[in-house]
């Protein structure tokens, strides 16, 4: 597998050594701190992580040990990943916002001996679950604030470890053991364990090896021609495969700079300052961005509103064609040119996207309108399809072959096939080796001939040959009348409306499809303002009859659209309700990557599901909510249910196979 120019460079630490040599004075990491962008060059990153690794080795971190990394996008935490890898230890990043319960599971399951954490908050969280972590010996922290009075016998500031390591490295013999360790890194050794937060069941530790990870990143770096001149904003959760891949792995391979935002609240502003050239955002983020644009434009002066409407219209007509290099009449080019000056470029500028060369979205289906909006502005937004088990990429859209309803052809060196039952299966350079300590699950997912089962149903588009994803294959169900019910398909159609934030659809083995809806507070709040609907809280807004009317219109439109599609016609929504609270990962209703856990929600909101199917017009619900510190509270509400008229099916009824 490890052919070509990178043959010897089969681990990330080796790549770092190369980068320190090749791009020594170029920026590797930036971090907005103390008012400016503090910058680490590749050489400095190398020096610091090497000292860090030396310090860790003196504290007893050994090859094969696991070390948890808990926190946000901080340079020192990325360096923690690297330092562990330098010693052949395996970093295990954990979501910073994981509640104590989740944290306890992952840390115990991964048997971590050490944990590098961000701040007091994470330290407290780990202390609160210490009884369940007998293997944990030591914690390292980045931000000392508030930790001064803690017992430091097993708690060390990362800065101190680095200092200690740097001191120890003055001993040439010791330095050689560290450097030899890096040079002799084995490509087949585990590189990292990423815990997936599945939509069903407990999370699994996906083990990725060094050489495979590097190879996967090399392929995509070449695919998008990323170079050391590129810049990315590292704002996605550290523990998510996307962040580890797009920022960590790719920046090491290409030598580009990754910028860490000041805080989660300032991402938008930091994005604007840094102006990344390589950008990734899940559809949800793009959606929220567009919602905010729309809302702010509604407050604009009449002239600006007119300009916006006019030129967005022009962009819709010509923008995508221009981006795809299709022929456009001269007048179209001219108008689009004017639009660039007065609208598109300023707009991209305020959003921080002016310099973006390549942008990706993935994780969920993206609404065609949303996708087209960004592309029409001249943003080279593309879709990819992937998963943790593949080390992200399975397919990606090449420039010039972008369609909103496909996810592109197989990525370089990826073998892709559709199994007889419609399941997408792949074999890829970066694919995982096993689930940590879970042979049964591993065996379940790997085929005999070494393919990974994705669990997604899909097919190749006849025209383009690109992959189309329908749904999680095991989620696709049937209504009692035998008609097809793909829940995600229905959910996505509804979610494409900015007013709707989240949807959970039910229908498998039922008489009809019913959905629970979360409204988007920003969008609906703004709508309320325009329509003079007074409200004081989310719950009040969610239960407002006018909001129900508005959502009902959206549902009716979706039904109309479903009715026109042969095989989906049966999946029209007959009843819906608007949930009184937002679905939340802390309550286990969403995964940390914001995907709905349909089954869990069905249990939790059983009275509501029952009411959706027994004809009641309203139902009482009282749910327990978990606060971040583990406290529980209860909220109750009476939720109304709305009936919808079904569209007559215009095409012949399709029955699921």
């Amino acid at each position: 597998m490890a052919d070509g120019p990178h043959a010897a460079l089969n681990t990330f630490p080796k790549l770092l050594v190369r980068n320190a040599r090749q791009f020594g004075d170029r920026p590797a990491i930036r971090h907005k701190d103390l008012g400016i962008w503090q910058t680490w060059t590749w050489r400095r990153v190398y020096d610091e992580t090497r000292a860090y690794a030396a310090g860790l080795s003196r504290l007893g971190l050994r090859r094969g040990d696991t070390m948890a990394i808990v926190g946000g996008n901080r340079p020192r935490l990325y360096m923690s990943v690297m330092a562990a890898q330098m010693l052949g230890a395996i970093p295990v990043p954990v979501y910073a916002d994981a509640v104590a319960e989740e944290l306890a599971y992952v840390l115990a399951h991964a048997e971590v001996r050490f944990a590098a954490v961000e701040d007091q908050e994470q330290v407290d969280k780990i202390i609160s679950i210490k009884e369940r972590l007998p293997q944990l010996e030591r914690m390292f922290y980045e931000e000392p604030r508030g930790l001064r009075d803690y017992d430091h016998s097993r708690l060390t500031p990362i800065a101190d470890i680095i200092k200690d390591g740097a001191e120890a490295l003055k001993d040439a013999a010791f330095a050689k053991t560290i450097d030899d360790g890096i040079a002799n890194g084995n490509g087949d050794d585990p590189s990292i364990i990423l815990y997936t937060s599945g939509t069903t069941g407990q999370s699994k530790g996906v083990m990725l090896t060094c050489a495979r990870s590097v190879q996967a990143a090399v392929d995509t770096v070449m695919f998008d021609k990323l170079t050391e001149r590129d810049v990315a904003l590292a704002y996605l959760p550290l523990a998510w495969v996307g962040d580890h891949y797009l920022n960590y792995a790719q920046s090491l391979v290409a030598g580009f700079c990754m910028a860490c935002p000041e805080s989660p609240e300032t991402i938008q502003q930091d994005l604007r300052e840094i102006g990344p050239t390589f950008y990734f955002a899940p559809p949800r983020t793009l959606e929220q961005l567009l919602t905010r644009v729309t809302i702010r434009m509604e407050d604009a002066s009449a002239l600006n509103k007119w300009l916006y409407r006019t030129f967005i219209g022009i962009a819709r007509r010509y923008g995508e064609k221009l981006l795809n290099g299709e022929p456009v009449p001269l007048i179209g080019r001219l108008l689009y040119g004017i639009g660039r000056i007065v609208l598109y470029e300023p707009l991209k500028n305020t959003l921080g996207l002016s310099r973006v060369r390549v942008a990706y979205t993935a994780g969920e289906a993206i609404g065609p309108d949303l996708f087209a909006f960004y592309r029409s502005l001249g943003l080279n937004l593309k879709q990819l399809y992937g998963q943790t088990e593949a080390f992200l990429y399975v397919t990606a859209q090449p420039d010039g072959q972008i369609y909103s309803d496909t996810v592109g052809p197989a990525m370089t060196n990826v073998d892709l096939r559709i199994a007889d039952d419609g399941e997408v299966q792949f074999r890829s350079p970066g694919m995982f080796t096993e689930y940590f300590k879970d042979e049964a699950k591993t065996a379940e997912v790997l085929t005999a001939d070494g393919y990974v089962k994705t669990g997604d149903a899909g097919f190749f588009d006849e025209k383009t040959g690109h992959l189309k994803i329908i749904d999680r294959s095991k989620d696709v169900g049937k209504l009692n009348n035998g008609m097809l019910f793909p829940p995600k398909y229905v959910e996505n159609k509804l979610k494409f409306y900015p007013n709707i934030r989240e949807v959970v659809a039910y229908g498998d083995k039922r008489d009809y499809v019913a959905v629970m809806i979360n409204i988007d507070l920003t969008a609906v709040g703004s709508w309320a303002e325009r329509n003079n609907v007074a409200y004081a809280s989310y719950q009040e807004l969610a239960g407002h009859p006018l909001v129900y009317d508005m959502i009902a219109e959206h549902v009716a439109e979706v039904n109309k659209s479903l009715a026109s599609e042969t095989i989906m016609a049966g999946a029209q929504v007959k009843r819906f309700l608007i949930l009184h609270k937002e679905l939340d990962p802390d309550d286990g209703e969403l995964t940390r990557t914001q995907k709905v856990r349909r089954g869990f929600i069905a249990e939790r909101y059983a009275p509501l599901v029952t009411a959706l199917y027994d004809g009641s017009t309203e139902a009482d619900i009282s749910t327990q909510v978990t606060f971040e510190d583990g406290r529980k509270g209860v909220i109750s509400a009476r939720v109304k249910i709305r009936d919808m008229a079904l569209e007559p099916i215009r095409a012949p009824v399709g029955k699921a196979a």
Binding site: R145, D299, E529, N532, Y535, Y538
Partner: protein
């Protein structure tokens, strides 16, 4: 739905519930570019005490100033929404006219005229009135019956009285305009505990006996919820929670974030953490 019919609907709502004040979906922008309030709505029933709670910068003072039309001095303006006082739109009235109609604001930081005596200060509050000296004298007496301390100090220059007395003077001065409703901004700020209690008792008294409605912005959530019948919590320029005082007092989030109570007991200020628990506004 056209905006005319919705406005009519809000008017009808105001009439039906006998609201003395009804704020609907107001948006406030400072300096043409800074958004401070978005979609804030609140109601004050006739004869009610309503509390406006929230952190510094949440928009409490801005809301009060928007109601009493004092935003212009700070280069702010209400760009959307409507404010109804006694069922009539008042956004375009001058602060004076509003006072004449019976809605007056007592500003944060007790703005008394320092070089005037307490009594002179109180009399300045009656300048919008046209009902003769006798009536004003009567009201002065009424103010003194509520604020005993002011009677004792009526000849003192306001600048040399204590903070509590100045706050009382400011409220007393507002009373002199015979208001139907007082917007009270941070009455407890910088006052000793027993004075705070005294002032709130007087507010309650005035509310009960003179039928003055109050909308009070307060940091001292504990106090405010003890005397108010209803509360709104503002954060980042939006109402995030509302409810009657009792339900708010029992709400876990309010307890922790605004009352400083965790697990049933007061948290020590020594044990504060450097991070904040995420707020989940689930009301």
């Amino acid at each position: 739905m056209t905006s005319a019919t919705t406005t009519a609907a809000t008017n009808a709502k105001a009439a039906a519930a006998d609201l003395v004040l009804s704020v609907n979906n107001i948006e406030v922008i400072y300096d043409h570019v800074i958004l401070v309030l978005k979609g804030v709505s609140l109601d004050v029933p006739r004869g009610g005490i309503v509390a406006l709670l929230g952190a510094n910068g949440a928009g409490k003072t801005t809301t009060l100033k928007a109601i009493s039309n004092l935003l212009h001095s700070e280069r702010g303006e209400v760009t959307k929404g409507s404010i109804l006082f006694e069922g009539e739109e008042v956004q375009d009235l001058s602060p004076n006219e509003l006072v004449r109609r019976g809605c007056i604001q007592v500003m944060e930081g007790r703005h008394c005229f320092g070089h005037l005596t307490i009594e002179e200060n109180l009399l300045t509050g009656a300048f919008t009135r046209r009902d003769g000296n006798a009536a004003i004298r009567r009201d002065l007496d009424m103010v003194y019956t509520y604020f005993h301390r002011l009677r004792e100090r009526k000849e003192s220059q306001a600048g040399y009285t204590s903070g509590g007395e100045q706050q009382m003077c400011a409220i007393g001065r507002a009373l002199m305009s015979r208001p139907k409703m007082i917007l009270l901004d941070e009455p407890s700020m910088g006052l000793a505990p027993q004075i705070v209690e005294e002032i709130f008792e007087i507010v309650k008294d005035l509310n009960g006996k003179e039928n003055v409605s109050f909308l009070l912005a307060e940091q001292n959530t504990n106090m405010a919820l003890r005397y108010a019948s209803y509360g709104y919590i503002l954060e980042n320029g939006r109402v995030v929670m509302d409810g009657d005082a009792k339900s708010l007092t029992e709400n876990e989030d309010v307890k922790e974030f605004y009352l400083g109570i965790a697990e049933g007991k007061r948290k020590s200020f020594r044990e504060g953490k450097h991070y904040r628990r995420r707020k989940r506004w689930l009301a």
